[in-house]
């Protein structure tokens, strides 16, 4: 009895994956989920202020796309940004400490949940205003092209962002100026608490399909399988690298938690049954785990170890965050102006701050 191969497993970008690399993809997704669970717990315990947008259920979208990136490839996203941060290689400690508003946070406690950045890892945030990052993503692609670098920018956005004007301006310019940007719409079905049907005209035609109007190549596919995501995002990356042209990809996914923790998701705009159905039938971690067990790359025992290690790492990051100091009051005025921080002639001429 010939074993049927998993779809897209034979795509070149997937066929070349080693067993260790496959395990690492699994580990990253599990770490994201554990981090988010620890963050929710910390929020419930009143250790975190403001909003908290959790990525649980969508892990494959960030991990699949980001796993394909090379030296001159960049990432930018919106406010549901923890998964992308861990996927580019940011540490749980600095991410958790940021949520706690601590000095040891990735933005020194100045950005919070929605504003993670790691330019050294080609990660440009973490942006709070819906679709506000979509022109920036095109701008990063512009800079790559201007500086004659072969690279691209993966610009993630939610399905709610596609109705913002700035996104359409960015699409028009990306096409017009042939910018190597890949827009990835993480379509989890709901823009905040409003379903796709109630927020977007012609939803059944596909959100990515609007790219037709700008003569941009687009694709729409399910996001449960890492193999499929990697294969199709790679196609878009190739288009960026080889033709310097943009793409729009719409990846169907699902968030198990509310828009933010303050979102009463249970019975308002989607049913418990719907959430349960996705959790049992469409979980990207379970899907990848089953794939790897089927390939003989992973055992249940290995999986338990990965789970345990990720949970311990997440708990330790909360402990690290708890023990870290808050920023000093004097740091409020750091990181506002580059010239002031660097004590240049420009930064020391004239008055820059006007309190008191």
């Amino acid at each position: 009895m010939a074993k049927k191969s998993v779809p897209y497993s034979d795509a070149p970008i997937n066929a070349s994956l080693s067993s260790d690399e496959k395990i690492e993809l699994l580990r990253t997704m599990v770490r994201i989920r554990r981090f988010e669970q620890a963050a929710l717990k910390a929020y419930n315990e009143n250790n975190i202020g403001g909003f908290l947008h959790l990525y649980i259920g969508q892990e494959s979208v960030a991990v699949g796309g980001i796993s394909l990136l090379g030296e001159n490839d960049h990432v930018i996203t919106a406010y549901r940004d923890h998964g992308h941060a861990l996927a580019v290689g940011m540490g749980m400690n600095e991410c958790m400490a940021e949520l706690y508003g601590k000095k040891t946070g990735c933005s020194k406690g100045k950005g919070g949940s929605m504003h993670y950045f790691a330019p050294d890892k080609n990660y440009w945030g973490g942006h709070g205003i819906v679709a506000g990052q979509t022109p920036l993503g095109a701008g990063i692609a512009f800079a790559l092209k201007y500086r004659n670098l072969t690279g691209c920018c993966l610009c993630y956005l939610g399905d709610g962002a596609i109705n913002q004007g700035s996104y359409h301006e960015a699409l028009n310019l990306a096409s017009l100026w042939e910018l190597p940007v890949v827009y990835i719409i993480e379509n989890n079905g709901y823009s905040m608490g409003t379903s796709q049907v109630r927020s977007s005209a012609h939803p059944e035609g596909g959100l990515a399909a609007r790219a037709d109007a700008y003569e941009i190549a687009w694709d729409k596919f399910d996001g449960v399988s890492l193999y499929e995501i990697r294969a199709k995002v790679q196609t878009a990356i190739d288009r960026a690298h080889k033709e310097s042209k943009p793409s729009v990809l719409e990846i169907l996914t699902y968030r198990y938690k509310g828009h933010s923790v303050a979102d009463a998701n249970a019975e308002k705009y989607r049913s418990k049954e719907e959430i349960q159905r996705y959790m049992t039938e469409h979980d990207p971690i379970e899907n990848w785990k089953a794939t790897l067990i089927g390939e003989g790359v992973l055992t249940e025992e290995n999986y338990k170890v990965i789970q345990r290690e990720a949970a311990a790492e997440a708990d330790a990051s909360a402990e690290f965050a708890r023990k870290s100091p808050f920023p000093d009051e004097s740091e409020i005025f750091d990181d506002v102006y580059w010239e002031v921080d660097n004590r240049t002639a420009s930064g020391t001429t004239g008055r820059h701050f006007f309190h008191g």
Partner: protein, 331 residues
Amino acid sequence: MPREITYREALKEALDEELAHDENVVIIGEEVAEYNGAYKVTEGLWKKWGSKRLIDAPISEAGFIGIGIGASMLGVRPVMELMFYSFAYVAFDQMMNNAAAVRYMSGGLIHCPIVVRGPANGGTNVGATHSHTPENIFANMPGLKVVSPSHPIDAKGLLKSAIRDNDPVYFMESTVLYGTKGLVPSNDEIEGGELLIPLGKADVKREGTDISLIAHGRAVLTCLAAAEILESQHQISAEVVDLRSIRPLDEETIMASVRKTHRAIYVEENKPFCGIGAQISSMIMEQAFDDLDAPVLRIASADAPAIYSPPLEKMQLPVPEEVVARALTLF
């Protein structure tokens, strides 16, 4: 030899020199390249530097300003032109959140060396939508720098400094000033070989002893005319202080002038409510209270949207006669 050139030519010289100075400088805006600039500030530059360095953008301010900000995060130094600064309002999220706050929210990991320049003035009968003066709005946001030159020499020297600055600088010009002339030194007569005027330095455009007229942008010219009348008709010696740079602000020059004259009026073409004059007069009150011989006055645009009707719009903006009349109430 100092040459007499227009404000427009001074700006163009600055752009031309900075295009030569740094290959990462790129000029983007509506009709800046092939069209030669809506107000001809970039005239001839596309022909000289080509399509890589001067890029025509569609009417899409949120899009192209956002692209400029994104590119600046990755080492490009974009000089964006807004055909009118009034159009900043359709790019407001990009200019107020992304350019202004990304450095702060990233804990200092990112900076945006971008210049957004264009005319920010009324007085040309184009109605309320095209006559905005948002210098106070942008100066309100920490992380941004706001510059507003009044003379050709300042326009050139400040624009060059703005382009070399590593923070976002919003550079506000005036269509009314583009054709005004002034002396600008040529590079061979300047130590260092180029004209760089630092941000955060005010300039005393006229010395006086009895009252300080403080202003930015075109209102500086209004003050100079008023000072002439005060001198010739009323024997009042007015000092005229040109802020040039609004944020960072040269408070030392302002206070030194007030301590000398004991009277001050802030004149601007901005609207009065929370205008630049409100900030300056509050600072004078706090820092030089015991040096004041009269309350600080503010003269601004009449507090209504810019009116179209040409003769009335003239009355809406400060004129020298109004400055003189208000000044006389302080003696």
